[in-house]
């Protein structure tokens, strides 16, 4: 196990290095840089001043020098200065991380708390009216874009209650923030919950036909014990895998949801930074997201061992 862990950690480091190169190069392949944009927003281009700003921001340096400088900064915990706000990139990124983290956790919770039980019910009640209804719900979850759903929710709130659940200022307490974020979390988590529901259903249907389930029933185990202790535990592994993948995909959904619900999180901020070619923000944020994805995948792999004792990672 120890050797496996070391191998995984080394692989993680290698993946992150590859990501850093990819992010850095791809960002510079996009046409235009910050100086183009700041002059574009002023409606003119002054080549001499543009060159001076490029010099000031270090954009005139060879790409390798820029990369080494970024990585060396990262190693020192120095993320550089945001080009647009002229503030330390860390100061710009840090306050936004908790907002997105809360939203992401709530969205994942929503998808698991709704997806898994409803998937189990759908499987257990296969081909009943309830199963058909849940399948329609899951299909609509997969086909409704989250931005459209978000706007629909906003319009419904304004029309029916004369109130709009958007993020105007930092809520006073933790619970009021949870309450406010729960609506966008539901909008973004709906798709994931539908996916989890469908996967749980199909996985459960397969497991429910196994001999050991019949044996458990023959031994007189109650239906909830059979369904949740025996069947679900064995059916949940692919679901855990998909939750891990969804956690990575979630960032895409969050960009849209943060925009529609006006949540000042990192996802929306990232898009804005890309639009401005604010390299220090984009590089560090994408790197941060890459770290999160790599760590989540690692946690998912480790969860397999907990959920299924038969799984052992080779020494």
């Amino acid at each position: 196990m120890g050797a496996y862990l070391i191998r995984r950690l080394l692989l993680m480091a290698l993946t992150l290095f590859g990501m850093s190169v990819l992010i850095f190069v791809m960002l510079r392949l996009v046409p235009g840089n910050i100086t183009d944009i700041i002059f574009d927003s002023a409606g003119f281009v002054n080549p001499a001043k543009k060159a001076a700003i490029e010099r000031q921001l270090g954009l005139d340096q060879p790409i390798v020098t820029q990369y080494v400088s970024w990585i060396a900064g990262l190693a020192r915990g120095d993320l550089g200065y945001a080009f647009v706000s002229e503030k330390p990139a860390l100061d710009e990124i840090l306050p936004r991380v908790p907002v997105t983290a809360k939203l992401a956790v709530l969205a994942l919770l929503f998808s698991v708390l709704f997806g898994v039980p409803l998937g189990v019910i759908s499987a257990v009640r296969q081909n009943t009216a309830l199963d058909y209804a849940l399948r329609v719900v899951s299909l609509s979850g997969l086909s409704l874009p989250s931005f459209w759903l978000g706007l629909l929710i906003l319009m419904a709130c304004v029309n029916w209650f004369g109130w709009i659940p958007i993020y105007r200022s930092t809520p006073g307490s933790f619970w009021s923030e949870v309450a406010l974020l729960s609506i966008p979390a539901a909008a973004v988590g709906f798709r994931s919950s539908a996916l989890v529901m469908r996967l749980t259903r199909s996985s459960m249907l397969e497991v429910l036909r196994q001999d050991y389930i019949r044996t458990a029933r023959a031994k007189g185990a109650s239906e909830p014990t059979v369904n949740y202790d025996h069947a679900l535990r064995n059916a949940v592994l692919p679901v855990v895998t998909i939750i891990g993948i969804e956690a990575a995909f979630l960032i895409g959904g969050l960009i849209v949801t943060e925009t529609v619900f006006n949540i000042p999180g990192v996802a929306r901020f990232l898009v804005e930074a890309i639009r401005w070619r604010d390299y220090p923000i984009v590089q560090n944020l994408v790197m941060f997201i890459a770290v999160v994805v790599v760590v989540v995948n690692f946690i998912v792999d480790m969860t397999y061992v907990v959920l299924d004792p038969r799984i052992k990672f080779e020494e």
Binding site: P31, D36, A42, F44, V84, I164, I166, R168, R268
Partner: protein, 532 residues
């Protein structure tokens, strides 16, 4: 005998009540909540050329003079004192002396003096090389400013190279605040210090911009509001819904498009909406260095193919203004009257006749239904650029031009046009002040940085200077219209239309007057109050 004094007293009380009622009605306090449409690039008005910066930050500053915030029209006669208590011209019309208000303090407590005026204009004219602006988009406004001379702490004289009556209009724009000498340009982009009615508190990128009342503001009793809070909401549907739900007292300037206006007024019937020109024109750009557009006849055919009215009807339900270079009447002061406008090439009411003439030109050059001229119509990848570009392509088909839309990433649009990497394009141009000097020097004079197409005609330049010197408005208008004719004949960025859009506010917002001929100059908010 005793009745008369009693009647007199009653009359006095009634008169006093009538006179005082408006003043008593104004309420102190409250936070004005406005949404912002996008992420503003910086807080430095002088370095930006967008309403996104002017609208929130104008309240932090004062100008020397200002367009009257209580009058709808921006015009020389509506210019009122601000940091300058008074101004005088010398007999040559080249020295404009301002008596500055004593006792004014910057938000950090330092005194405001004539040196600050000098510093501001030294930066704008490029004389301050030590602490230069990163960008100076309106440098051309100040090309006639020789220097600023100071006499003590409370007198500053703008010395001009030649007479220029418009200089006062430029000074009165929201784009011309006075900056402090003692604060670096970099700090002004992130943490601005002004003398205005509101102090800057916080600028969270992509989230909020906050200001609080300046308790030491030099104008007694102002501002009425305790604070102004701007919330950035990039998604238009969300912000309009938030306004309808009453989350905001006001929309961002000109954020409500003509089609949206109907929805807003239906869903928020009490909201007050003002539909006015935005000062932004949509125009056709043609690169005369690229064949076949180096042929003046082809350019003329292009102008003749334009059906402005159809575009206006489709895009704005007929609300946009058909115009030449200057903002047209009734809101615009300098625009050509419609009957004169129709005499310009490409503006005739009979479109079919114009197009027949254009087709004849094209046929003469060898083009026809079986041999069309293939051309890329370039534009910026933003809906307000793309939509008219698509209509333009359709209209060009009528004269055997087969256009293909080329959308350019917004970040490199200006760079690409400046490098002349286009044949035909569709562009938008914003004008800060409804004034010929501002518009003509910025967009059509030889060598101006904002003259995107680098159009240069020495005769036109001479006329631009001639109108700039002319103090008589009527005579000046005639010269401006002569310039319009030259520009239309040269196909120098033909204007297709001037946009209109609405700004809306809730009924509890009082004391706000929406300017009708510029969106850039009425955001001081010192006379605005909330009646919640």
């Amino acid at each position: 005998m005793r009745v008369q004094p009693a009647l007199g007293a009653a009359f006095f009380v009634l008169a006093a009540t009538l006179v005082m009622t408006p003043a008593l009605a104004q309420k102190q306090g409250g936070t004005l909540r406005i949404y912002h449409r996008d992420n503003l690039p910086s807080a430095s008005i002088h370095e930006e050329a967008t309403i996104s910066t002017v609208q929130p930050f104008m309240a932090v500053f004062n100008n020397l003079v200002l367009f009257d915030q209580g009058k709808k029209r921006n015009a020389p006669e509506t210019i009122v004192p601000d940091l300058a208590e008074s101004w005088t011209w010398d007999p040559t019309g080249t020295r404009l002396t301002f008596k500055l208000r004593p006792g004014v303090k910057w938000h950090d407590g330092r005194p405001f003096t004539a040196k600050d005026v000098q510093c501001t204009f030294n930066k704008l004219t490029g004389k301050d090389t030590e602490d230069d602006f990163r960008r100076n988009p309106r440098a051309v406004w100040w090309q006639n400013l020789k220097e600023v001379a100071v006499n003590g702490d409370h007198e500053a004289t703008l010395v001009l190279n030649r007479p220029q009556p418009s200089i006062l209009s430029m000074l009165a724009s929201g784009y011309t605040p006075i900056y402090p000498c003692h604060v670096k340009a970099q700090a002004m982009r992130t943490n601005p210090i002004g003398t205005g009615p509101f102090k800057f508190v916080e600028f969270k990128r992509g989230d909020t911009v906050k200001f609080v009342r300046n308790p030491e503001y030099w104008k007694p009793g102002r501002p009425y509001l305790d604070a102004i809070e701007w919330k950035v909401i990039e998604n238009r549907s969300t912000r309009i819904l938030a306004f309808v739900a009453g989350e905001f007292d006001m929309t961002f300037s000109a954020d409500v498009s003509v089609p949206l206006l109907k929805d807003v007024t239906e869903q928020a019937p009490k909201a007050i909406c003002s539909l006015a020109p935005t000062g932004v024109s949509t125009n056709l750009i043609v690169n005369p260095a690229v064949a076949p557009f180096n042929d003046a006849n082809v350019r003329r055919a292009l102008a003749l193919a334009l059906d402005r009215k159809t575009m206006i009807d489709i895009l704005s339900q007929g609300k946009f203004s058909l115009s030449g270079v200057m903002l047209p009447p009734p809101e615009g002061t300098w625009g050509m009257p419609p009957e004169l406008l129709q005499t310009l090439p490409g503006y005739a009411a009979d479109i079919e006749k114009s197009r027949a003439e254009a087709r004849k030109i094209m046929e003469g050059l060898g083009y026809g239904p079986n041999k069309t001229l293939k051309v890329k119509v370039s534009t910026r990848n933003i809906a307000i650029y793309r939509d008219p570009a698509v209509l333009l392509i359709d209209q060009l088909k009528s004269i055997y031009i087969d256009g293909e839309l080329e959308v350019i990433d917004t970040s490199i649009w200006h760079a690409k046009v400046t490098r002349k990497e286009y044949s035909v394009g569709l562009n938008l141009t914003g004008v800060g002040v409804d004034d010929p000097d501002v518009n003509l020097y910025e967009n059509y004079s030889c060598g101006s940085e904002r003259n995107l197409t680098q159009y240069c005609n020495k005769d036109v330049d001479a006329l631009i200077e001639k109108q700039s010197r002319e103090p008589d408005t009527q005579k000046r208008k005639q010269i401006v219209w002569e310039i319009e004719r030259h520009l239309a004949e040269d196909l120098a960025r033909p204007i297709i239309y001037y946009e209109r859009a609405a700004t809306c506010w809730q009924p509890q917002l009082k004391g706000f007057v929406h300017h009708e001929n510029s969106i850039y100059n009425n955001w001081r908010f010192e006379d605005v109050w909330l009646d919640r």
